[in-house]
């Protein structure tokens, strides 16, 4: 653990140097320096801490029924985590619903461990040590077990295919006070907001690079963030109302983006600014 902390401190020192350089340099060299900063961050990823906590939670008896996640089927059989995330979202006949990882974890908590729905989704996004999120830790563990596995969302399954099409419509849905859609910021190559590069999610390469690096440890927040968080916070910036955690719309949009990432090697949890 201390080595991780040390490496993150080094990364922050690099970030300080970046800001110093940015003052007098052109935008391109600023972008280059930010890229160096990102590379420095890759060296030590505190996501490991979430992964370790998630692994413990996965294996321990939980809830009123004292049942572990060994009973939880993420699509490859009860308790199987290896490679499971790379094949989600998928249709689960027991729930009669297409589910992403987070909605499936909540389903297992409620239906197998006897956790009350309100408790299962109490802290979906963590906020410091006072409000840690069990779901984010579980997500970190399960996703880490798909590292190096090729994305293969079962798009030929009719329910999944339908969610993919609905998610695609959502991606281009303009609304709100600012007329924003997901595509407003993520529909063209080489765009930035301020100096932040934006992936073009309408292209396979862009979707692959983005989707395979979530969840991620966000240095600016000191938190491991799940894909549900990523979508939730995009819609906040889009000036939309709040996306409900594990809602159908969140799963549809995840299906669209995960499906477009098919064929790429999954490489999360990553580390981002």
């Amino acid at each position: 653990m201390p080595s991780i902390v040390r490496r993150v401190v080094v990364a922050f020192a690099t970030a300080g140097a970046v800001i110093g350089i940015a003052g007098g340099a052109l935008a391109q060299s600023t972008a280059d320096e930010i890229e160096k900063y990102r590379e420095a961050l890759q060296d030590g990823n505190p996501a490991e801490l979430w992964e370790a906590r998630g692994e413990e939670m996965w294996k321990a008896p939980r809830g009123p029924k004292k049942v572990s996640f060994a009973a939880c089927d993420l699509g490859l059989g009860p308790g199987v985590v290896k490679g499971a995330y790379a094949r989600l979202p998928r249709y689960f006949p027991d729930a009669k619903r297409v589910m992403d990882l987070e909605s499936r974890l909540v389903w297992c908590m409620e239906n197998q461990q006897g956790v009350a729905p309100a408790d299962a989704t109490k802290n979906v996004f963590g906020n410091g040590s006072a409000k840690r999120s069990d779901l984010e830790a579980l997500v970190a563990y399960v996703t880490s077990q798909s590292r190096g596995v090729k994305m293969s969302v079962p798009l030929d399954e009719p329910h999944v295919h339908d969610m993919y099409r609905l998610g695609e419509k959502m991606f281009f849905y303009r609304g709100g006070t600012h007329d924003f859609a997901c595509a407003t910021c993520h529909g063209d190559d080489g765009q930035r907001i301020r100096l932040q590069d934006l992936p073009n999610l309408t292209k396979v390469e862009g979707a692959q690079k983005a989707y395979t690096t979530w969840p991620a440890y966000r240095v600016s927040q000191g938190e491991l963030r799940s894909f549900q968080w990523r979508l939730n916070d995009c819609f906040r910036q889009q000036r939309f109302p709040e996306l409900v955690f594990a809602s159908d719309a969140s799963i549809a949009l995840t299906t669209y983006l995960a499906g477009r990432a098919n064929g790429a090697e999954y490489n999360g949890p990553a580390i981002k600014r």
Binding site: A27, L166, T177, D179, L198, P241
Partner: protein, 214 residues
């Protein structure tokens, strides 16, 4: 056929245009696709919850938003382009005193600020226009986005004329009066900025003393 509500004659004429074009072009408006759009919209309305100032009505599209969503990823037929432009041009209002240009220094502050309209924002605070998120303006600001074109020397390049000032006002007020389905928010139409703020942003673009025009 769309089941959406059409607010007025303007919206109705847009809708007729969309239907006619759908018949002619037969791709983006195919009935199967529309069925998916309608289900997607219903799903979204069941999947969001009101939070602070952001109520569920933010998911209700006006006719321009609907058409731009429908044709996303397809080329806009010229008839639709013209309908969207005309409809949005008709929304533009001008100050009663005719004064379009305010204080560029305040305009710069508004251009820097991304505050406003997110559910996490305090609605009592003045909103920003966040111009730098997408545009280069003053060369002193290196942290600018590229979703929109560079606006450096906007006034200088066009000339410091009444025509330029009016164009800047219209463009900030409702960019879709010129560029149908533009990514740019319609700052006047949606009341994102006040009249005084619109003047100040226009000043940042067209005042010869503004850093944008140096």
């Amino acid at each position: 056929m769309p089941k959406k509500t059409f607010g007025g004659t303007l919206a109705a004429s847009l809708a007729l245009g969309a239907i006619a074009t759908g018949v002619l072009h037969g791709c983006a408006t195919a009935p199967a696709d529309r069925e998916v759009s309608e289900r997607a919209e219903a799903m979204m309305k069941a999947s969001f919850k009101p939070h602070g100032q952001a109520k569920l009505d933010r998911l209700d599209q006006d006719e321009t938003q609907r058409l731009c969503s429908e044709y996303a990823g397809h080329s806009l037929p010229p008839t639709i382009v013209e309908k969207i432009r005309q409809a949005n041009l008709a929304t533009i209002r001008y100050p009663a005193d005719g004064k379009l240009v305010g204080d560029w220094k305040n305009g710069e502050k508004i251009a820097q600020s991304g505050q406003g309209f997110q559910y996490s924002d305090d609605p009592a605070k003045p909103a920003g226009a966040n111009c730098y998120a997408c545009h280069q303006l003053s060369p002193k600001e290196l942290s600018y986005g590229t979703i929109g074109p560079s606006l450096y020397q906007f006034g200088k390049r066009r000339g410091f004329t009444d025509e330029t000032r009016k164009y800047a006002w219209q463009k900030v007020y409702n960019a879709q009066a010129f560029n149908a389905c533009s990514n740019m928010p319609r700052f006047g139409y949606h009341h994102i900025l006040t009249e005084a703020q619109l003047r100040d942003v226009v000043a940042l673009l067209v005042d010869p003393a503004s850093p944008v025009n140096q």
